[in-house]
């Protein structure tokens, strides 16, 4: 009995000890953002004087060259359609790739899945030229379409796996009652798949928000930059104002963290469902 207690104590001590490696840096960022710079000269871990102020957050939000507030508003304008569109378009394609007969259907599906491996740099130059010719540079529509296209391989893989867990009998019964394929899809398949759609939405929202490269090459009007694009602009070349930079970082990461906190169950299922059937 004593030995089991000892073992349990050791496991817990080890787990929390290792956990500190993740806890301390996040506390450090929070301390650096919340306390005035004068208190931090000898490190944020000195607590001889301790004042909390939101100055750094206000400075980052209204920064003269790269206001994070504006960046967060811009990111939201991009990310919401860039989540809804790929999920609807991808769900339709995933459903057809699972249920409808078509020659070469499975090779087509595998090709789409394989596209997940391609780095964004592979399309950067031609995509830039193509969108410039369409007048879609410095345009959120262009960025949203790019996010949509690049989300599709994963959304299709994930939702096809998800749809394959639905019993086909329900769809067959509806078909006998005279429902068309699109009706069956929107009235039966989608409502039955809400948890799967929530998973896909949680992950896609995070990825679109966290994206930097596509925004970097497609948006360069200073007023239109999304939140992630403004972080490097706040990092001076030689002198770094850690207070403002960490406050801006916290503001930028707050949205994906909020999504994760609210949709944790779906988020993790999405991540696991992508990999295991």
């Amino acid at each position: 009995m004593m030995r089991r207690w000892g073992q349990e104590l050791a496991v817990n001590a080890l787990a929390w000890g290792v956990g500190l490696i993740w806890i301390i840096p996040f506390i450090g960022i929070l301390m650096s953002a919340l306390r005035p710079q004068s208190e931090l000269i000898h490190g944020w871990w000195q607590f001889s004087s301790f004042t909390i102020s939101l100055d750094n957050f206000l400075k980052a939000w209204n920064h003269p060259t790269a206001p994070i507030g504006q960046g967060i508003r811009n990111s939201l304008v991009v990310v919401i359609p860039a989540t809804v569109l790929p999920i609807f378009i991808g769900a339709m394609a995933a459903y057809a790739l699972l249920r409808f007969p078509f020659p070469l259907r499975d090779p087509l599906f595998l090709t789409i899945v394989l596209l997940m491996a391609i780095p964004q740099q592979m399309v950067a130059v031609p995509l830039f030229r193509f969108l410039r010719d369409l007048g879609l540079i410095n345009s959120y529509l262009g960025l949203i379409l790019v996010h949509t296209a690049w989300a599709l391989p994963w959304v299709i893989l994930f939702l096809r796996n998800y749809f394959s867990t639905l019993p086909p009998e329900i769809e067959e019964a509806a078909s006998l009652d005279g429902a068309g394929r699109f009706q069956i899809f929107t009235r039966i398949v989608l409502p039955l798949s809400l948890p799967g759609l929530a998973s896909a939405a949680a992950l896609q929202l995070t990825w679109a928000w966290n994206d930097f490269f596509m925004a970097l090459i497609l948006i360069y009007d200073p007023d239109m930059l999304v939140a992630t694009q403004r972080i490097p602009l706040l990092r001076g070349q030689y002198h770094i104002d850690w207070g403002v930079l960490t406050a801006a970082s916290i503001l930028t990461m707050s949205v994906p963290i909020l999504v994760f906190a609210l949709l944790q169950r779906y988020y993790i299922r999405g991540l696991i469902g992508w990999t295991l059937k």
Binding site: N12, A96, A117, I118, V123, V146, T252
Partner: protein, 302 residues
């Protein structure tokens, strides 16, 4: 075949095409066609003339890409391909090993849900912020890592890691393990939950100790999860961009230059599109090898 049967078949194909057309068109115009154009750029020169593998020979013999003159013991820069390779060699075993240890450890600790969420925050964080965090941790004045190293007497390592070629790449790699390990931990946790408890009970009855159980039951059962983690992690390491962009911009003196960032500099700073396309094509070649391996192994195990 009668016209009626053909008509029926075309009707069925029609609904397939109707459902998939929006997705296929977007994928075609925003992924496949531009990727093919990039391949075309990598085989041509400014005048559009076909030059065979000349661009590749140039890129691969460029010290930006490949420069082993100073390879260990000398400090970086060793060239972007070598930096990506070193990244994989260090980051992959650390991520897989630490993820497994954390998953097993947190399987039975109190407050595991909280600790897992904190560790997983690194994955949720935008990687552009991840680069800021790395720089912050390894900063001479603000960083807790350098402060601890100074406190234990390692004063040489007490300076800003990202400012010196010897330490910039190690800082980024260690930081990227810190950011990414939540991914392997979460997948291993899910994998552990699928192993039936009876296996362990049966093994215990047969006299197997905890280490033997771990080696003969846990490790083999986690094989499929491990494949997924390895494939996704190598792809992530090859595509690494944002972290380097905020932490060092490839510096100092190219000591942290990686393929994805090199491509960006060639294309959007130097406006050398053919050279940039060649780097991108090389990078894609590496990622496709990983992707094909993954698709093949997961399909053959089904």
């Amino acid at each position: 075949m009668s016209a009626w049967r053909w008509g029926k078949r075309i009707g069925r194909w029609g609904s397939f095409l109707g459902f998939t057309a929006p997705a296929l068109l977007l994928i075609l115009f925003f992924i496949i066609l531009p990727a093919l154009q990039t391949i075309a750029l990598s085989f041509t020169d400014r005048e559009g003339a076909f030059v065979g593998l000349r661009n590749f020979a140039q890129v691969l013999s460029d010290p930006d890409t490949f420069n082993l003159t100073g390879f260990p013991p000398g400090p970086p820069p060793w060239g972007s391909i070598v930096h990506n390779a070193v990244w994989i060699l260090l980051h992959l075993p650390l991520t897989v090993g630490l993820g497994l240890i954390l998953a097993v450890l947190l399987d039975r600790a109190r407050g595991a849900t909280f600790l897992k969420s904190i560790i997983f925050l690194g994955m949720v964080t935008p990687m552009i912020v991840g680069g800021v965090i790395i720089r912050f941790l390894f900063d001479e004045n603000a960083g807790v890592v350098t402060a601890i190293l100074r406190a234990v007497g390692l004063t040489e390592l007490g300076r800003s890691w990202t400012a010196y070629p010897e330490t910039a790449l190690p800082a980024l790699i260690l930081g990227s393990v810190w950011l990414w390990v939540g991914f392997s931990m979460i997948l291993y946790s899910a994998g552990l939950a699928t192993i039936p408890r009876d296996y362990y009970e049966a093994a215990a009855v047969d006299g197997a100790g905890p280490l033997q159980q771990f080696w003969y039951i846990t490790i083999p059962s986690l094989r499929p999860v491990t494949m997924v983690i390895v494939a996704m992690t190598v792809l992530w390491e090859l595509k690494i961009f944002d972290i380097v962009y905020t932490a060092t911009l490839g510096g100092p003196g190219g000591a942290t230059m990686v393929l994805a960032l090199q491509m960006y500099f060639y294309a959007f700073r130097a406006l050398e599109f053919h050279r940039a396309a060649t780097v991108a094509t090389l990078l894609t070649l590496f990622t496709l090898i990983v992707g094909l391996w993954f698709v093949r192994t997961t399909r053959s195990s089904e």
